[in-house]
Every structure is written in C-alpha cells, then in structure tokens.
C-alpha cells in the first residue's frame, strides 16, 4: 500500500475504505490526453466513424477551452491530467454471474462489510460486475417491457439510431471544458431506455468503482424516459484510496419526455485525493418530472451541479443534495434550474456539513426566461458546521426575465451548539454519539428519500467520517 506522507502530515482523515485490489488491465492507454489516445479508445471499442469524429471534435473543444477559474482550486489539475491514463479496460468482457466475479472484487465487498444480500445487488448490476440471480431475473422482467439497461458501449452497438438521436443533445461537448474532455474519452456508464407508459417499481442500479491506480474515470450515461414512463436509477460508488492525485469526470444526460417521471439517485464517496468534476443534466418536457438526489462525500474537490432544463409547460424539476466536507476537502455543489416554459416549477434543497478544514459551498443557478409565465422556484440551503474552523459559503445566482414568476431563496447556517450537545449528553450519550445523532438528524430529510440500503450506507459513511471529530 503506497503512502503519501505529505497527505498524512496535513492530517487528512484516514480514508476508511483503504484498499486497492490487483486488477490486470487488458489494455491501457499512454499517460496524458492527445489525439492518439482518443483514436486508440475508439478503435478499441470498434466504434462507428461518427463517434470517432465526435470524440476528435470534442478533443479540439477541450484544448481550446481555458481551465475554469471559478469554483474550486484547479491550479494543480494540469499536472495531474498530464500524468494519468485516460483509458484502461479492466477486464476482457463483462462478468456474467456471481461465480464469475473475480475473487479480488469479492474481497472488496468483504472489506466494505456489505451484507450478503446487499452485495448481490451492489455487485454491479449493469456496471462491471453482475449478479446473476438478482440482475437476470430483473433484466428478463425489464426486457419483456421493452426496457433497455445496458452498458453505454452496448447501447451504441445495439441501438444505434436511438442512441445517436439523443447522445450529446443534453450535454453538448461545447458546454464546459470537462464535458468536452468526457466527450473525447468517455468509457463505461449506462444506456437506459424506458418505453412509453412503462412504470418500473424496482430501481435500476449501477454500482461502479474506480479501481486502477491513476486511472481517470470518464463514465458517460444516457437515459431516455419516454412519454408517461416512470423509473428510478441509482448509482453509488466507493473508491479505494490512492497515493497520487486522481481524477473523475462523468457526464450524465437524461431526457424526460412528456408526462414521464424520472429520479436519479447518486451517493458518491471518493478517496480524498480525487478531483470529481461531473456534469449531470436533464431535459424535462411538458408535464414531466425530474428528480435529482445527490450525495457527495469524500474527494479533494467536487464540482457538481445537477441541472434541470424545464423546456415544456408544467415541467417540474427537483434537486435534493447533501455534501460532506471533511478535513482538506472542498465540496462545491448545488444545482441549476432553467425555466424555459410557462407554469414550470422547481425546487432545490441543499444541505451541507463541514468539519475541520473542510469547506462546503453551495453554488446554484435559477434562471427564468421571458415567457415562462407563472414559473415557480424555491431554493433552500442549509449548512451545518461541526466546529469553529469549518467553512461554508453560498453562491446563489438568480436571473429572472419574466415578471410573472415566483422565486424564493432561503439560506441557513447552523453550528452544532453547546446546548444541543449538553442536552443529548445529559441523557447519557457520549459526546461523539451525540454529535453523530445531530448530524444524522440534519441529513434525515435526504436519507428519508433513499432506498433503505442506501440510507443505511449513507449514515454509516457519515458516521465513519465523523469518528474522532470531538474531544
């Protein structure tokens, strides 16, 4: 296990899931990003010409765009990027059953202490590793309804027209520097299609991990929820810790067609050296609803603002996010809602916890275009500071071009108070337990929205992070 004294010296919290399993990659690109790497990726995947052209065009855009100067500190990023591998194919093919799941991955689940039943679901339904028993029975059920839940590569291969019609329509490569980067080197992720009127009770779950030292992860997910459909997609990650800087930049695109209802849940827990820069966006048509539920833990810097572009009448967007910034971490998160049609409505609820030298920033945009009459938006930010040193900031951007609309914004900062701690301790709870209970209560409005196993996992992760925070 490599160590980094510099990191330890500044007292970063020990990353609790501290392990690396030995994978043997079949193919690995050279370090850094250039045209050769992009061509290699495309050739390795056997892609059609249009996709190679798209990647190359995206690379040009990436090179032309300057590094953002807002948000978090990206000054070290150039040197990180010149040193990482932009493409590693971890296994020859996707695993097909639990028995085929490599022993080192099973060991990973052991180390995480994930219960047997949960493990099979988490064993990468739709991602790298599949659990035959759980996944295949669900998959048969889904296929009978015409649902597509594939890897993004299989989506391109097996559903070329549907794929090409929607791909990069929600997040075009020119949107931002990291969307351009992802467009050039994307690899992995999911392709999901829910046919008109289909309602899925069981959430679609993807579980993936970054497990290659110095490997950048550039997953790309494209989801199409057709008219009147209803579904929930869940993604969670637990990344092993590395000694060098790491980088993750995903793009998630979701098209929510008229009358559809889609929820995307993600709980991300990156190792403390990770730059996590993600573009998540949805296009929401008339009478449709999009819900983002976004949990960000770990990483060195996360910049992530799930967005809803409300383009049809009465479209609704909701963003619920929770961020935890421990020592040395900066969570720059929030949400964007764009009202571009009459009677659209949106809500953003953002909760953050900062501890020690951690910093949590809320950055949000609410834009109401002229003609979006009777649009309604409400933003609530709630920050909890665990100790004196912790920091939080709020950057709400509100742009309203339509007088006949209602936009509300509310921000609160609270400190875990002496009186609260005394109250709990006077009931017999040790200080650490008392602190954890206060924090659990603070995130309860978010945890309540999660499926049980994720709520449990979120609580467990935050408790691990909180260890040693008092006394």
């Amino acid at each position: 296990m490599p160590t980094n004294e510099a990191v330890q010296d500044i007292g970063l919290d020990d990353y609790k899931y501290h392990f690396i399993t030995e994978d043997e990659p079949v193919f690995r690109s050279g370090r850094g990003l250039n045209e050769k790497v992009v061509r290699e990726i495309s050739a390795q995947k056997g892609e059609p010409q249009w996709m190679l052209d798209f990647r190359l065009k995206s690379l040009d855009i990436y090179n032309a765009k300057p590094m953002p100067t807002w948000g978090g500190d990206l000054s070290q990023l150039e040197s990180v990027l010149s040193d990482i591998f932009f493409y590693v194919r971890p296994q020859e093919r996707m695993e097909r059953s639990w028995d085929d799941v490599p022993a080192n991955i099973k060991e990973t689940f052991d180390r995480l202490g994930i219960p047997e039943a949960e493990r099979e679901i988490l064993a990468g339904v739709g991602a790298q590793y599949e659990s035959e028993m759980v996944y295949h029975s669900l998959k048969e059920e889904w296929e009978a309804q015409g649902v597509i839940f594939d890897s993004i590569e299989d989506g391109l291969r097996n559903h070329p027209e549907l794929f090409r019609e929607h791909f990069a329509t929600v997040v075009p490569p020119g949107d931002n520097k990291f969307a351009a980067m992802n467009s050039a080197v994307w690899s992995g992720g999911s392709f999901v299609y829910i046919p008109p009127g289909v309602e899925l009770e069981t959430p679609l779950q993807a579980y993936f991990r970054v497990n290659q030292e110095q490997m950048g992860q550039f997953e790309r997910t494209l989801i199409i929820a057709d008219e009147g459909s209803r579904a929930h997609y869940i993604e969670g990650c637990t990344a092993p810790v590395y000694s060098t800087e790491s980088f993750h930049s995903g793009v998630i695109e979701i098209v929510v067609k008229p009358g559809a209802h889609f929820r995307y849940t993600t709980i991300q827990n990156w190792s403390n050296n990770m730059y996590n820069l993600v573009t998540q966006r949805s296009l929401v048509h008339e009478n449709a609803t999009m819900e983002w539920l976004d949990g960000n833990l770990g990483s060195k810097l996360t910049m992530k603002y799930p967005s809803c572009f409300l383009v049809g009448e009465r479209a609704h967007g909701s963003i619920l996010s929770i961020a935890y910034a421990g020592n040395g971490q900066h969570q720059d998160t929030g949400g964007k809602v764009i009202h571009a049609a009459p009677r659209t409505s949106s809500s953003i609820v953002s909760k953050s916890i900062s501890k020690g030298s951690g910093r949590a920033s809320y950055r949000g945009l609410c834009k109401v275009y002229e003609g979006s009459t009777d649009a309604k938006s409400n933003v609530e930010c709630d920050a909890l500071l665990i100790d004196e040193a912790a920091r939080t900031d709020t950057y709400p951007y509100i742009e309203i071009d339509e007088n006949q609309s209602t936009v509300g914004h509310e921000a609160r900062v609270s400190k875990v108070g002496e009186e609260q701690l005394f109250y709990l301790m006077s009931r017999g709870m040790p200080e650490e337990e008392a602190m954890a209970l206060i924090v659990r209560g603070f995130i309860e409005p978010i945890a309540r929205q999660l499926p049980l196993e994720y709520a449990v996992e979120l609580n467990r992760l935050i408790e691990l992070e909180m260890e040693g925070s008092v006394g």
């Binding site: 017999g428 209970l437 209560g441 603070f442």
Partner: protein
C-alpha cells in the same frame, strides 16, 4: 426511606465558566432516595445554576465544595457519565434536535447505557416505549415526532417526562424556574412526576421553581429557599406557604443585612 443520601453537596460553589463572580456560594443539600425536595428562590438566586451544575453543564465551573451522588464524586464525572449513573435533569427550555425522532433519541440514550458490544433489542425497546407512553397517557405517534421541533410548551414538558419515564433515574432534577407562566405545562410535569414516583417510590426528586404554584400539584417533603447562592432556609411544605404570603422580601432583607455585615 434509606438513610444514606443519594445526593449530598457540601459548600458547593460555582460560577459561569471564565467569569469572576460566583453564582453558587456554598450550597449544602442532602437528598435521600424517595424524597421530594423543592428549591425556591427569587430570580438570579442561583437555583437554575444549581440544577445545571449538578447535571454537568459545560458553561459552569465548580469553584469549591463537593457533590456526591450515590457515593461517587459527581464532580469527577462527565455529563454523560452522570446521566448513565442515574442523574436526570428535565430542562426548562429543551432545545430542538431536527430530524431525530423521540423514539430514535431514546433508543440511542438507552443503547449508550449498555456495555460495549451489547445491542439494544429493537422489539424490547418498542415494548418499553409503548408501555411508558401508555402509563403517561400519551399517543404512540408522539414518539415519531422530531425532538422538540416546533413543540408547544406543554409538548416539550411531555417529552421531558417521557424521557424521564424511559431512563428511570435515581434522581430527577426538574428545572421549572419560570414555568409558572404556563399552567398546562405545569400540570404535565406534576402529573408525570407523581405517576413516576408512585411507580418507583425510591426515585428522588429535586424541584427547582420560582412559584409556589407547582407545589399545589406536587407535594414536597422538604422546601429550601435559596437567595444569593446560598440556602437561607429549609423546612417542610410550610416554608413554601409562607413564601406564598410574604414573597421573598424578608429573605432579600436578610440577604442585604448579611452583605452589609
């Protein structure tokens, strides 16, 4: 009633942390199991400070004297250790803990009383909670609400009493310093204390109050009058009655004579 006191303070002195002026200037108090003591005093006399010092509030520091609880040096124990050994303080204005249900709060408090590695059985806990709520004539749905979040004065008191019922302290300190203003809240406290003491006659109670009114509902065995950080008079219920008539005036005079001397 046993002879060994459950709580014994001698010359207990205390001040607000980092401030010069002492608020408690030598409090002597002995409470035996099963006894109900009332401490009454004018505003600023130190009666609420006494409650907080006994419970271990970090905002106060003990500057002298001693306090023993059940034979242990109370002042050596942390707030949570005091609670686990049987001290309970019902807060006058308990704070809200948003997002934490009363049930969850109590489960955590009971779990904290178990040995390391021991796990509170959820079904057992549920049984205890429901049984306690029935005893206190509370609706089970009350335990699902977030602790004191948006509670009325009466609901806050109900919550304090429920906690006391579940945690079964050896000594219950009721800080009701100015709750005379809310008669409903007062009745909740009185009914709760009476019910619980009837059930567990060994429980000792220390009532901190400004007004005699609370004592119409809870019959104390002993009444102490505290003025300027010292107990200036102790006796039976009649002490409270004389206060009802004469107020604290004669004690204030006593106090000014004392400080003049």
């Amino acid at each position: 009633m046993s002879d060994a006191p459950i709580l014994k303070t001698a010359g207990l002195r205390a001040r607000v942390t980092d401030e010069e002026i002492e608020i408690l200037k030598g409090v002597d108090l002995e409470i035996r199991p099963g006894e109900i003591h009332a401490i009454m005093g004018p505003n600023g006399s130190g009666k609420s400070t006494l409650a907080k010092v006994l419970a271990g509030h970090p905002g106060y520091e003990v500057t002298g004297g001693s306090a023993f609880f059940d034979g242990q040096d109370l002042l050596e124990l942390e707030t949570d250790e005091r609670a686990r050994s049987g001290v309970f303080m019902a807060f006058q204005y308990p704070v809200a803990i948003p997002g934490v249900s009363i049930a969850n709060f109590l489960r955590t408090a009971l779990q904290a009383r178990l040995e390391d590695g021991e796990e509170l059985d959820l079904f057992d806990f549920q049984d205890i909670l429901l049984e306690r709520m029935e005893l206190l004539e509370m609706s089970p749905s009350f335990a699902e609400r977030a602790v004191n979040d948006g509670f009325s004065g009466g609901e806050k008191k109900r919550n304090e009493i429920l906690q006391m019922a579940v945690l079964e302290p050896a000594l219950a300190i009721m800080d009701e310093t100015d709750s005379g203003l809310d008669i409903d809240a007062l009745k909740v406290v009185a009914r709760g204390v009476n019910t619980l003491q009837k059930e567990r006659p060994e429980m000792a109670v220390l009532l901190i109050t400004h007004y005699q009114r609370l004592l119409n509902y809870i019959q104390p065995d002993f009444v102490h009058v505290i003025v300027d950080g010292r107990i200036v008079r102790s006796g039976g219920p009649e002490v409270a009655l004389s206060l009802e008539e004469g107020g604290y005036r004669e004690y204030r005079q006593l106090q000014s004579t004392a400080s003049a001397a």
